[in-house]
């Protein structure tokens, strides 16, 4: 994510006062020390000047508050994949129905395509034959993405603990397990709200950290000054369309 500089000339007195007050209010709201700074934040910030102050604000205020805002927005509008495997799917539909009405929390947009979804609810038993298909759907989903294992079969294979099934966490990083056989719609809603809390409080507690999968993120091509390697991907402007000049 590219962030514009907060102020071009940070030396102005008004500008500086504004930054410090922003910082102080932010620190008060957080109510705790930030990034290992033991001194009171306003004392520490007041000593900084110029570029240093701007960097300080950038690193501490804007990023954290923006990340929090993004996490808040994300967690209040999961796009679940319209995907059911067995009887749990009935309860999943019911959770989206008028009585339980999961739209109260903003999760009503069940998507038919994994490329538009960021939450997969494994509602039912997963057979060995189905597992690679589910994995493929999960891989096609947008990042960041989350997975909820709904019901006993998907979590621990339940009453179908036999030769044909595989537990979901054998092939998929699961964020929340919802117990039950099947779970009631309230149970599923509780699980998704747990996931919301997880995303809001610990946005870094995703599956990449838990599975030590850092560095496997998808590289997004940036038109200007992208990371090395991004230039290999065709840029949106199409400076060097590969189809036209294959030899270039």
């Amino acid at each position: 994510m590219r962030r514009e500089p907060l102020a071009q000339d940070a030396g102005g007195a008004d500008q500086r006062r504004l930054l410090v007050s922003q910082l102080n209010s932010r620190q008060l709201l957080r109510g705790s020390e930030l990034h290992g700074i033991n001194q009171p934040a306003h004392l520490r910030a007041a000593e900084l000047e110029g570029d240093e102050l701007e960097r300080y604000v950038h690193e501490r205020v804007l990023t954290t508050s923006l990340d929090k805002a993004v996490a808040w927005a994300r967690s209040n509008s999961f796009f679940p994949l319209a995907f059911g495997l067995a009887c749990c799917a009935m309860e999943q539909f019911h959770a989206a129905g008028p009585r339980m009405d999961i739209a109260r929390f903003g999760y009503e947009a069940f998507r038919a395509s994994p490329r538009q979804a960021d939450l997969i609810i494994l509602a039912g038993r997963v057979s060995i034959k189905m597992a690679p298909i589910i994995r493929r759907l999960y891989d096609q989903m947008l990042e960041p993405k989350w997975a909820v294992s709904m019901g006993a079969c998907c979590s621990s294979m339940g009453v179908f603990n036999n030769y044909a099934l595989v537990p979901a966490d054998k092939f998929l990083p699961i964020d929340v397990y919802v117990p039950g056989c099947p779970p009631r719609p309230e149970g599923l809603m509780h699980g998704i709200l747990k996931l919301r809390k997880m995303v809001q409080d610990d946005p870094d507690l995703g599956w990449r950290e838990r599975y030590q999968a850092r560095g496997t993120e998808e590289i997004l091509p940036e038109p200007h000054g992208g990371p090395p390697g991004a230039a290999d991907i065709a840029s949106p402007e199409g400076d060097t369309p590969e189809g036209d000049t294959p030899g270039a």
């Binding site: 060995i128 034959k129 621990s156 294979m157 603990n161 036999n162 030769y163 044909a164 099934l165 537990p167």
Partner: protein, 183 residues
């Protein structure tokens, strides 16, 4: 359902018809008749299954409802294939059962049309399922491959000596002994 007498009559008819045919030297196709709880079953020789089903079709049993397998492990003959026939005009049913020796048994498929008459289209997927679950090979089936389990699955899971499988589940009382890999 044919009653006990009717079942014996059908068996007699099959013995007379097949015993006089080109396979007369091999003897009667019907080895036994079982009448149990109002249900008539013909036990037949595996090699004669197509001929017997064709005869029964002439008698009016024109719909093959179901083909399924059975495993009598550890008894021998071990595996069996059961054909359920239905006469839709008289609403009459009869069961034809075949017992097969060995662990890799083979039997003629009743699905394709052959020189000995038309086949039974419903047997297509059901024979594939019996092959998948029990490992009975149906000779002459044009597309005999697994239907329920993955293509690369090893073994035939509904055999009685196949392990049930599954994952050991960790509860509070066995979390020390069964945690992680289990047991």
């Amino acid at each position: 359902m044919p009653d006990a007498t009717g079942l014996e009559l059908i068996a007699q008819e099959l013995r007379a018809a097949e015993g006089a045919g080109p396979q007369a030297a091999t003897g009667s196709p019907v080895t036994d008749t079982i009448f149990f709880r109002g249900r008539g079953t013909l036990m037949i020789e595996p090699e004669r299954v197509r001929a017997v089903l064709a005869r029964l079709r002439e008698r009016g049993y024109r719909f093959l409802c179901s083909v399924h397998g059975v495993d009598h492990h550890p008894h021998e003959p071990r595996l069996g294939v059961v054909y359920e026939l239905l006469d839709m005009a008289r609403v009459d049913r009869i069961t034809v059962k075949v017992l097969l020796h060995g662990d890799e048994p083979e039997i003629d498929s009743v699905y394709p049309d052959g020189e000995d008459g038309p086949g039974w289209p419903t047997a297509d997927h059901q024979e594939r399922e019996v092959y998948d679950m029990f490992g009975v090979v149906f000779r002459g089936h044009p597309d005999l491959r697994r239907i329920l389990m993955p293509e690369d699955y090893e073994g035939h899971p509904l055999r009685r000596d196949f392990p049930v499988g599954g994952e050991p589940v960790t509860f509070t009382f066995n979390e020390r002994s069964a945690s992680g890999t289990g047991a």
